[in-house]
Subunit: 355 residues, 2 copies
Amino acid sequence: MPHATVRDIAREAAVSVATVSRALNGHSNVRAEVREHIEAVALRLGYVPHAAARHLSSAKSGMIGVVVPDLHGEFFSELLRGMDREASERGLYCMMMVMHGDAQRGVAALHAMRGRVDGLVVMAPQVSADELLVHLPRGMPAVLVNCAPGQSGRTELRIDNVAGASALVEHLIATGRRQLVHIAGPVGNIDADERLRGAQDACARAGISLRVLPGDFKEPSGAAAAATLIEEGAAFDAIFAANDMMAIGAMMVLKRAGVAVPDQVAICGFDDIPLTRLISPSLTSASIDIASFGASAVARLVKAIAGDDDGGVEQRVPIVMVRESTGPRLHASTDHNFSNVHNEKPDKSGIGELP
Amino acid sequence: MPHATVRDIAREAAVSVATVSRALNGHSNVRAEVREHIEAVALRLGYVPHAAARHLSSAKSGMIGVVVPDLHGEFFSELLRGMDREASERGLYCMMMVMHGDAQRGVAALHAMRGRVDGLVVMAPQVSADELLVHLPRGMPAVLVNCAPGQSGRTELRIDNVAGASALVEHLIATGRRQLVHIAGPVGNIDADERLRGAQDACARAGISLRVLPGDFKEPSGAAAAATLIEEGAAFDAIFAANDMMAIGAMMVLKRAGVAVPDQVAICGFDDIPLTRLISPSLTSASIDIASFGASAVARLVKAIAGDDDGGVEQRVPIVMVRESTGPRLHASTDHNFSNVHNEKPDKSGIGELP
DNA sequence: GTTCTTGATGTAACCGGTTACATGATCCAG
DNA sequence: CTGGATCATGTAACCGGTTACATCAAGAAC
């Protein structure tokens, strides 16, 4: 026996399909007695509405789509979590689609969203946003997250990577480091590029040089960079990795090589994934509260779908979370006082909530 | 201007909608010359098919749904990653829905899937599977992952938690531990219950006692359990936490309290999330290769959708990954030789691929 | 040359909802 | 008692695809 439809209910309840639809959707113009009867019949028949049919006729799906470049590590799981939370609070559902770095696949993913979602959150730090957005289904509301700044005039959410990276580097310098190394993210990635620039800017202002090693945002590349430094016997006293995973990879290699962190070398990352607090020494990072960032994107999208979004660009300035990996040395407790630097005190369990 | 439809293309190309549909779907019975013309027109009009309409008429959506209980931590992101990989290899898309532990919401999520997906992967270790499955849309193929064993006769994937937990405890005993503590998972959770039972069984066989502390699979509860032990001044030399996150929480507290791991206390977890290798000391765990587990679930689901699935239960036996947190002591290198125990050698970067 | 087969194409129904509009009943004012 | 407003309900079109079936032309077989 196939699934029950509104017509089945109509027949069974001896009313028309229109009345069934109105009753089940809570329209006011249905007699209470009729509504109850219809609801009872629907329950008895095990009726569950067919989302595609409803979507087709009402042009609403109650679903928002999320396009992400990757699915590795905690960054995306946190982002997803924040988005899902916000969406479900508004009675919406999330579907996620991965465009594995590939522009071809990105276009396919965008196309596949047509007829499935009411709007899109697109995160595409790799490919050119403008190039991708040409393929956005016509009239599909979208919020861009961490995309290359385009002239699309679309709603955008962005992390102030330059400010965050500068603040981290200034923190390193303030704690006495002078021989800085930056492990960069993948070339062409907007976040990576901006973080590099922020680091360079801060170094230039302080009049010190910065060595840059390549990386790809994944942990092994951070490890490889550190291994290179050690093999070379390079002189360095601080590493700023363009994200947390690379910082962790680097830290592991240093520790195995007997380099003391932070006594000999300070290390910091970027993103402030939950993991930063779980490793030892805990990792200094630039915090953007990923989950809340994702929630924000969804909130903006909901406004855009409703038609009342200003279409502006929202920029988040990260906060530096100072932890053990660059922690103040014992004999100099307050050697830094930058505006957006937050000194996190380890509590007993070491799991402090971020402000 | 609204989106182009097949009828627009038909008009523009001076053919019928049936021909347009056939041409764009690669049916053989279309003249090559006509097909090319139609494709050209479709491209010119920026045609993108409407998924809901296609789904409605063809009863296929090309989408599989994933229902998970939660979205915290690396376990689910790994699972998602594996599923997504497998699905996209088969030209399918994944949508994920979170039922926040709540049975009410679980039912809503299941209903919301009707008319959206061709099949479901349901992971519901908390609620009674049978109770939930009553609300599965009629005729919807589904694969159950880590659900309480039901008599549903459905396709199920399951982790052999008892065997995994037993193997871990046997490993602890073999390395000389005698005062064991188990940090349990949430009560009513099938995985947690089975892991507890596996630990108890192994202890009973060895004739030693097992202290059990409550937990909830989240990291703070592991920390709290360890704190309790320390405050009490309890005598113990090994902790087996029901999952990795709690093990990590416990380890952090022990280290802060000056307890040496593994010299004084050995610690192991369960799940083998990527993080186990990144902390120090690296964490011994029972590995089920989460991503591949997820991929397997999708593969089974695809078979079920095609109609040729045996409907059997597939059980995965975890492998014990021995790492530093329970590592062999220096003076007794091979004090264990259980069948499914795998001794992981740390390589230079510390990021060995699992077999 | 006629009939049969084959293959390309068109017509229209259908999937399962929603909703504009029509209908008819009820109620109230005049 | 009657005309108009109000409200519940029914009829049927529509959303945008797919596809069974009908049609028709061209080539093959006799």
